[in-house]
């Protein structure tokens, strides 16, 4: 790929990279540093030759599997390398699940619901607060899945974990969000939420 085209493509995903950086770092100034570092690495001499576009032939623009995923992977690596450097080890999700791909996924059923007249603003507000409370690992996966619409295997490649771990983290994040919604009586009533079966609480 020619440098001009490469740079143009990389700059097209600047908003998405900034969004990811902000969700990881949580502070705008740190997010800006992170983004600069990502692009400094991306524009480094010799990088273009190594960049491999894995996007589908009919989906070059979304960046899915291609440039966007690649920039996300750099962002993830730079962020966690910095954390390690600063000896601020994040609490590992190992405490909840084994990180191997052969782990058993938790079999906790999603709530059953009856869609009626919903106050989505109320639901969204509650979710926003619950998402803010999630650990970095969960929020990162949730963002890549919910906002950027990435597939499990793409997320797995970006954060360099097995697909089973992506599913576990997503499950955990969604469970925490669902629990948060279930904890709001108004939302439970509005959505007609109920658990079909008793849910184990041994998290």
């Amino acid at each position: 790929m020619e440098r001009d085209k490469f740079e143009q493509l990389a700059l097209e995903h600047l908003d998405a990279v900034y969004r990811m950086a902000l969700h990881l770092a949580r502070k705008p100034e740190e997010a800006e540093e992170l983004v600069q570092e990502v692009y400094a690495r991306a524009f480094r001499s010799g990088t273009i030759e190594r960049f491999e576009d894995k996007s589908a032939p009919d989906d070059m623009l979304s960046g899915s599997g291609g440039m966007r995923s690649w920039l996300f992977a750099i962002c993830h690596n730079v962020f966690y390398t910095r954390i390690k450097k600063q000896s601020r080890q994040p609490t590992s999700v190992d405490s909840f699940y084994d990180e191997s791909s052969t782990e058993s996924l938790p079999d906790e059923a999603p709530p059953v619901w009856n869609q009626g007249d919903l106050n989505w603003e109320h639901v969204d507000g509650r979710l926003k607060s619950a998402i803010d409370d999630l650990k970095d690992e969960y929020r990162e996966v949730l963002m890549l899945w919910g906002v950027d619409g990435l597939k499990y295997r793409e997320i797995a490649e970006i954060i360099e974990v097995p697909i089973g771990t992506v599913m576990s983290r997503l499950h955990r994040a969604r469970k925490l969000l669902a629990d948060s919604l279930m904890g709001d009586e108004d939302i439970v009533n509005e959505l007609g939420l109920r658990f079909h079966q008793a849910t184990p609480e041994a998290e």
Binding site: R3, E7, L11, L14, D15, V17, Y18, R19, L22, H23, P28, E29, E32, E33, V35, Q36, Y39, A40, R41, F43, R44, S45, Q86, S101, S104, L105, P106, D107, E108, A109, P110, P111, V112, W113, Q115, W120, V123, D124, G125, L127, K128, I131, M143, W145, G146, V147, K151, Y152, R153, A156, E157, I163, M167, L170, H171, R174, L177, A178, L193, H196
Partner: protein, 324 residues
């Protein structure tokens, strides 16, 4: 490289297939995968058969789909600030220039090896004469730069160093401006005795920190205070604010940021570098950096060149200056 890394699609299919084989079947995980569009056609058909006698399953599937939409709406989707976009775009341009420079250098190196022997290399005596002339010229240039503080030609930075230069410029300018305000300064710059501040940071950095002697220079500079800071790429750093008195008798704030040298910039001891920073340029501020005894000193101020020079002298900054 693992099988999964080589063929992620196949690894995912195999992983999901295995979920159907579990006993009891992990219906919740499969419903979520189905709601996320991760099952292939055969897996979807297989799931339909499994949930045929589970009336609650479609509702659970719908809940998961709706939750994804909610997450997308609820999560912030901020846009990249314009200033950051401009900086990143300029980094791309810098990278192109750096590549072009490197290419030009390669050509030059290549040419020089194929050139004919030079005039000075024709006899041993001419070679010695050339060496002597070069040495004398070098000493003269070095002396003139040392004595008069002449700005030497710029030192080229690679893309990471240029990026760091921008980041550090933006950071120190932001903190300097914030702490020009006395309320912010009082909260951050809690050490008001410069000897104590010097001892504190020397202990923190495990190397001596050199700060100006205030008693002797009260007419020119006053120490406001110092406190802990977080200069990019450093674990520990300090911010010290001084008020320099310009020739008109007005006090102008000067910030000195100190930290063990992180080694990102190619700084040579005995040289003060004027650091390029678009943030400082835009704010009309000057940014200088030097290293002494393994400590990096960053000086930022909107004061004039002369006042900045006087302050640097008081701080024992090297008088030889280079642009970086």
């Amino acid at each position: 490289m693992s099988n999964e890394q080589q063929h992620p699609e196949h690894a995912q299919e195999a992983f999901l297939d295995a979920l159907f084989e579990e006993s009891p079947i992990n219906l919740a995980a499969l419903l979520r995968a189905c709601a996320d569009g991760e099952l292939n056609e055969q897996q979807c058909e297989r799931l339909k058969k499994v949930i045929a006698d589970r009336p609650e399953a479609p509702s659970q599937h719908d809940f998961e789909q709706a939750l994804r939409g909610c997450c997308s709406r609820a999560m912030d989707k901020p846009q990249c600030p314009k200033a950051l976009r401009d900086r990143v775009t300029s980094m791309a341009a810098t990278a192109v220039a750096a590549d072009q420079d490197a290419y030009a250098q390669q050509i030059e190196d290549s040419n020089s090896t194929t050139r004919n022997r030079s005039f000075w290399a024709r006899t041993p005596a001419m070679g010695i004469a050339a060496a002597v002339l070069l040495s004398v010229a070098g000493v003269l240039v070095w002396q003139s730069a040392s004595i008069f503080g002449v700005l030497s030609p710029s030192t080229p930075l690679n893309i990471e160093q240029a990026s760091y230069s921008e980041r550090v410029g933006q950071f120190v300018l932001g903190e300097h401006k914030r702490c020009c305000n006395d309320d912010a300064a009082e909260a951050k710059l809690i050490q008001h005795d410069i000897s104590q501040a010097s001892a504190y940071f020397s202990q923190q950095f495990e190397r001596p920190v050199r700060l100006p002697q205030m008693e002797e220079n009260q007419e020119q500079i006053r120490f406001y205070g110092g406190g802990d800071c977080h200069v990019p790429e450093t674990i520990q750093s300090g911010h010290l604010r001084f008020d320099a008195i310009d020739p008109n008798g007005e006090a102008i704030s000067v910030s000195l940021f100190i930290a063990p040298d992180p080694g990102v910039l190619p700084l040579e001891e005995g040289v003060t570098y004027r650091l390029s920073s678009s943030a400082c340029d835009a704010a009309g501020a000057r940014l200088f950096v030097w290293v002494s005894g393994g400590v990096q000193y960053l000086l930022v101020s909107e004061a004039s060149d002369k006042t900045c020079g006087d302050v640097r002298d008081l701080m024992d900054a090297p008088r030889r200056i280079k642009q970086i």
